[in-house]
Symmetry: C2
Subunit: 344 residues, 2 copies
């Protein structure tokens, strides 16, 4: 049998009456503010406990000047990286004294804008946008309504604070790693127009050049999906005259598709082909897959995002900041030293 919740939740007035004091005094005592004599404070706290008092947060935020809410809008909550960032961010917001109002179904620009309107109607102090809205005009428009920090994409042209992984460095890290292992024929399966893809590609190109391998640059168009990776593998491994000994994929899913297809073709990974992915999804870390990859830190992205938000709130007119969070190379078993015998 489900116990029925008490008919009417106790209010401050109830506990004030119960303790024989005024509402204001009860309010102070409960929040631990001001100077209340230990004697009366004790009485008030007991009354509160007796009546199972829980402050009505709605009333509180209406009454207090600063509502103390922070909005978090997530574009693709089914994307584990975004989910993780949002989760950590809401914890960090709480630690900063804000409570997070989270909107998780902003999967189109219209819905994102509507979600943000609603958050504004709740008088949030700012909005942390994670992966949404998607289009730049929408981002700019929304940012004109309320202080906003965008996590997940580098907003070069739009004047909005943004936090993202330093993907150029990520690309460089991947190539450097493979070169250090002795590879020279290193191909890149890119992510087309997906967020970050361009910069990962730049990192790849730049690193290859720095290592004097500009002649070995091969870029296959891909996407952030398993199937795109498999397709890329077929394209790549079909080239008769130039067979890579290593591939840097722009995304873990792409890498997984690639590996799968390579294995189907009969190649061994990393025996015949070393592969490095990007993102470090949970899957990548499993013993079974053990995919070398570039780790994006949800924790760093979340805390940089919240920090940027706090800065913006404290100083609304400060210069727009573009924060780059450093990625990290995770060395696992899908990449191994180049062996001459393996090369075709």
């Amino acid at each position: 049998m489900t116990k029925k919740p008490p008919q009417r939740p106790a209010t401050l007035a109830d506990i004030a009456r119960h303790a024989g004091v005024s509402r204001s005094l009860a309010s102070l005592a409960i929040r631990g503010e001001g100077a209340v004599s230990p004697e009366t404070r004790k009485r008030i706290m007991e009354a509160a406990a007796a009546l199972d008092y829980r402050p009505n947060l709605v009333a509180r935020s209406l009454a207090s000047a600063e509502a103390g809410y922070l909005g978090i809008v997530v574009g693709e909550i089914e994307n584990p990286l975004q989910a993780e960032i949002a989760k950590l961010a809401s914890g960090l917001a709480r630690a900063e004294g804000y409570s997070a109002l989270v909107s998780i179904d902003a999967d189109t620009d219209e819905k994102a804008e509507e979600a943000i309107r609603t958050l504004i109607a709740h008088r949030v102090s700012g909005v942390l946008a994670i992966g949404a809205p998607f289009e730049k005009p929408a981002i700019a428009r929304v940012a004109s309504w309320i202080p906003m920090v965008y996590v997940g994409r580098l907003l070069k042209v739009v004047a909005v604070d943004s936090v993202t992984t330093d993907d150029v460095t990520g690309g460089i890290l991947a190539v450097d790693h493979l070169v250090a292992l002795g590879h020279r024929r290193i191909a890149h399966v890119d992510g087309g127009a997906s967020p970050g893809a361009e910069r990962r590609r730049d990192g790849y190109r730049r690193a290859m050049e720095r290592h004097g391998l500009e002649r070995q640059i091969r870029i296959i168009e891909g996407a952030y999906t398993i199937d795109a990776g498999a397709r890329a593998a077929r394209a790549l491994l079909a080239e008769p005259d130039w067979r890579p000994s290593a591939v840097f994929a722009s995304n873990d899913m792409t890498a997984i598709g690639l590996i799968n297809e390579a294995m189907r073709i009969g190649l061994s990974v990393p025996g015949d082909l070393s592969v490095v992915g990007y993102d470090d999804v949970t899957l990548a870390g499993t013993e079974t897959l053990s995919l070398s990859t570039i780790h994006q830190s949800a924790g760093d992205l979340a805390s940089a995002g919240i920090a940027a938000m706090m800065a913006r709130l404290a100083e609304p007119d400060a210069a727009v900041s573009k924060i780059l969070v450093p990625p990290r190379l995770m060395t696992r078993r899908s990449s191994a030293p180049f062996s001459a015998t393996a090369a075709a």
Copy 2:
């Protein structure tokens, strides 16, 4: 340059003054309630538009008897199924006239309880719990505070409304499919004590018996992870005297690990081994993996959850309901007809 938001958001009083009417009338007009003459309504709406008025939802919910909030608590937001359910549920809640207050970092029972306390402090009418709290005592305690519907687990002993996939049927579906393909030696890699695992196992056992295959029942202990699947594959394929031609895995991740390991060992899937998973994660549907599996419908779970919530809210004393959502078999390429030649 980020445009600064207007100093003070317009209030109802502002637009009333602007339109030369009383606040009450403005309120009615804006909500489209009551009978307001078209003439004045027009004037009021224009004033609202001119001042870019947005009702303060905090004030509104304080003033109106029913706050109109629904709490949604998610245990593992990085789990795409839970994320999807939560996302759809928040849309459905809106459609029912509630706005969803979502808590995504309830990953321990303590945090879940705290999150629900906070939701209650916001005067939500009820809480939709998705995968959290985890332990039964915590679930029961929380449900004694506020109307709650639990999605993702069948709560047999706890008297709380629950919605979950009919996992017994799911298990049966998987076995029936494999039997129809001609398989007889069908093993099951279970999910240990994970949610749903017991019932999927029951379904497997029951279906095997119904098909007269009780002698072929083999259950390997597993878990909902890739690595567990790989381990199970090693255990299973090592048995010299009894080599299955098909495996029903309790979870897609388990299935993927299993397939991966089988391929490594040199078996072909589905040539030598047919595999059926459970959940239908995005990965399963990719061309590359093409995993036959039992689909859990996030949409059905979400709408059953919201429906149960509405029912509970409408009739607080109704009998506790245990809703089972039917699963669906997805036939893909990881399962194929039994071929005698392939059997060891």
